[in-house]
């Protein structure tokens, strides 16, 4: 199954990526396209930008492992993950997950699984640049975003669900 994984600084076009995945195919009955977007506030305060640091070699390997896990678990006909790094402003896209299958259940489930794992296992770290910094200020000061326990719980439920599935007679 063709899987595209890209790490890039530049913006991406979600619709174009989904269209490319499905082009010429008549076996695909469902495409789910998820885009993660930079919001304009963090912890109630407006932000100027997010900056994403990453560990490039590991990010590629880790996302490939997650994609492999998704392929093993659901019937997928196509998959695309794009994750940006560098400076990203509010309203701009950060991450894309596209999944394709014959029927909708697998496409939805695989997309959610991949997002839950990207949030907790992909080696990226966000810094927030606060809004309102004037030139001459001690700006360029950035603070690290803290990981959320709700993201950890979201990733864990896929493990629990799989274990329960295995225990079923």
């Amino acid at each position: 199954m063709a899987a595209t994984i890209r790490l890039q600084r530049e913006p991406f076009d979600a619709a174009a990526e989904a269209a490319a995945l499905a082009r010429g195919r008549t076996d695909i009955g469902a495409i789910v396209t998820f885009t993660g977007i930079c919001r304009g506030e963090e912890n109630g305060a407006p932000i100027a930008a997010l900056t994403l640091e990453h560990y490039p070699e590991m990010a590629q390997a880790e996302i490939a492992r997650q994609v492999e896990a998704a392929e093993a678990r659901w019937s997928l006909l196509g998959l695309c993950v794009i994750h940006r790094f560098g400076r990203i402003e509010p309203g701009a896209e950060i991450v894309l997950v596209v999944t394709a299958s014959s029927h909708r259940h697998d496409a939805f489930a695989a997309a959610e699984f991949l997002m839950d794992y990207l949030k907790t296992h992909a080696p990226f770290w966000k810094q927030v640049e606060q809004a309102g910094a004037k030139s001459g200020d001690k700006s360029g000061d950035k603070t690290w975003v803290a990981a959320k326990s709700s993201d950890e719980s979201a990733a864990e439920r896929w493990v629990n669900a799989e274990q329960i599935g295995r225990e079923q007679p």
């Binding site: 080696p123 770290w125 690290w144």
Partner: protein, 85 residues
């Protein structure tokens, strides 16, 4: 045996460099041993590793727990919990 260490995010900021080569002495067998040994190298390391519970580790680009053996590792990375996606 020397091993390359990589530091990311605020771990890198506290230690003051993104990477280095180290030669842990015999007896440093696990990730937890390595973190304890690194913490003694200086204040900046102690500061970076002051709360080992929030340090995540990868050996050769795969996540590991702190009881993982470091023998044979070529690259060990230390970083805070991830915030990608």
């Amino acid at each position: 045996m020397s091993v390359k260490l990589l530091y990311f995010a605020w771990v890198r900021e506290r230690i003051g460099k993104p990477a280095e080569e180290v030669e842990p002495p015999p007896g440093i067998a696990t990730v937890a041993d390595l973190i304890a040994w690194l913490s003694k190298r200086g204040d900046e390391y102690a500061h970076a590793f002051e709360n080992p519970k929030v340090i995540r580790t990868a050996i050769d680009r795969a996540h590991v727990k702190t009881d993982a053996a470091i023998a044979g590792a070529r690259e060990i990375a230390f970083f805070p919990p991830m915030t990608g996606g």
